[in-house]
Every structure is written in structure tokens, then in C-alpha cells.
Symmetry: D3
Subunit: 65 residues, 6 copies
């Protein structure tokens, strides 16, 4: 603990995910004054046909969400 | 916000998912009196070898769950 | 199954929650063609000092989220 | 209810998952004195490039997590 | 990891929760052949006015869920 | 989206939570190159009698988790 779950629409590169877990870990270390080793981050990617806003799937919109 | 997560065993069609996000969004709009644009719905499909009832995986049952 | 989780900022009345579970259940029945008895809905209320947008807690904003 | 979610790094066999849902169901039955039929277990597998400790993805470590 | 989340309607005693985390940990150790120290269990209690089946809140039913 | 959930044992101050949502938002903006307004953060506090490691509740340990 702490455990951080990052939910995002699919499409980020491995390099962006590496950057994400480094930057978010630093943010939690700084705010909560805990050791980096105590921090777990889990990324959950969501398919564009599995997320909707205003009743319309992202996959069915022209522009992206 | 609100954010709605729908967890279901895999196997629904894209048309059923379109119907789902439309119908659930309408239900939340009606009950909470919020604008549709504020409502996000996420669908999480669960594999049949990843869900169990009474200690038996759905994939190992004859009839479906 | 299906299981639906509704996450919303705290502040809805019991009557609104009753309305919500009725309306969302109807939506899922209609879209997925399942019996109402198979549908579970869980409401998760979020405190205003536990949710942030653009890096600012809802509790610290003048207008509500 | 109860519903149990088991989150683990990918890589377990089907036989291990069968064993897991049987053993965890027995544990909940014993502790909460409920019927096995009331217990649902969901397994969530996490990819090694989607989990990080101390700011480093499991996929980028030599030894496993 | 693994991390296990147990969702249950409120009302279990502290002694039942102690029993639960001991019994579920043993089940996961046995099935996945991991050390007990790697296993985290989180209990999430759900209020009876926050869970519904067939469109009716548990708090509004005579018999319990 | 993205949506970030931070799970931590209870006991942080409001000032630490303010710091957290600011720092984590900055980390996600930097890594994913998105506008801060698209980022939601939710904090989930866990009671010490609701989290266990190695089969023992944090509330039952002398030292903290």
C-alpha cells in the first residue's frame, strides 16, 4: 500500500506507461511521504467499444474521447 | 460522474452493448436528474474460466451462468 | 450476473437510490434480455474530499462537480 | 454475495484457477457460515507490463514480482 | 500480489473477519503455492441501502440478502 | 478519462490528500500528454480492520502496515 489503479482508454505506448508509473510513484511518494517500494500501480486499459459517454460508445464517435 | 461499471460474462454482441449503454444512461438520467453528458459507462467482460459460483468455474459447468 | 456498480458523489436521497436501482435494472433487462433476478446493483458514494478533477478536490471548489 | 475478486499477475494454469476457486470458496464458507452457492469468485489477471512496484513495470524487472 | 477483495453486506463481526482473512489466505497459499506474506486481503462492506437485486434495495426487502 | 483510484490505509490529512491529487494529476499530464481537466482522481480509504497481510488484519498488528 498505497495501491494506485490507472484506468485509460487503450492506445498508450509502453514508453508512456513506463513514464506514467515513474511519474505517479514520485507524486505519491512526495504527497504521502512513503517509500517508493510500498507503492503498487496497476494500469487498466479500456477498449473503445467498452466505454460510453452520454449513452454512446467511444467506438461509435467520430472524434476520440 | 456518475460512473457506471457493468460486469458481465463475455458473449454479448456490439449491438447489445450499444443498447445497454443507451438504456442504462437513460435510467440514470431519469433517477438522478443529471445531464447525459455527465454519465460514463464502462463494460467489463469476464471470461468463463475466470468466474466461479459455489467453487466451480463457469467454464467447467454444462449449463451457462 | 450481470453486476452493475454505480459510483456517484454523495448526496442522493433514499428515494433517488430506489429509483436508480429500478431504472437501471430495467435498462439491463431490456438490453441484455436477462431476468431481473440475475441483476445486482451496488451503489458506491464518494465523499467530496475524496474526488478531484484537474488536481483540485471537489470539496475545495465553489461550484459542485 | 459475498463476491470475491482475486487479482494476480498472469501466468497461472487452469488447474491452479480451479484449485483457487475451490479453496477460497471453502474458506469463505467456513468463516462467514454461508452456503457455497451464494459465493461468486472473479479472477482478474494483470499483464506484467501493466503492474509496477517502486515505479518500475514488472515486465522491466529481471526477477519476477 | 495476489490481492483479494471480499465484498459482503455489512454485519460480520471482527472475529468473523479475522477468521475470513486467515482462511482465504490459506486457500490462496495452497492453490497458487505462494508465501502468505505476498497476499493482501481487503474487505469491502456494503450497506443494505446500497445493494439491490431485481431492482429492489436489500434494505427494502423483508428477508435479508 | 483517465481515472485514477488511490487506495490507502486511513489516516492521511486533508492537506496530504490535496497534495496527492495535485501531484498525481501532474504526473499523469506529463506521462500521457493530456489536459488536467480530463483527469479524475478518487481516493479510497481502507480501515485497519479491513485489510490483512499474511492472514492478519492490520488492526491486529503492533506495528503499522
Amino acid at each position: 500500500m498505497p495501491r494506485i489503479i490507472v484506468q485509460a482508454v487503450e492506445g498508450r505506448t509502453l514508453e508512456q506507461k513506463r513514464h506514467l508509473v515513474r511519474a505517479v510513484t514520485e507524486g505519491v511518494v512526495e504527497a504521502f511521504d512513503v517509500a517508493p517500494e510500498t507503492i503498487t500501480i496497476v494500469i487498466e486499459e479500456i477498449r473503445r467499444d467498452h466505454i460510453a459517454k452520454a449513452g454512446i460508445l467511444a467506438a461509435d464517435r467520430k472524434a476520440s474521447t
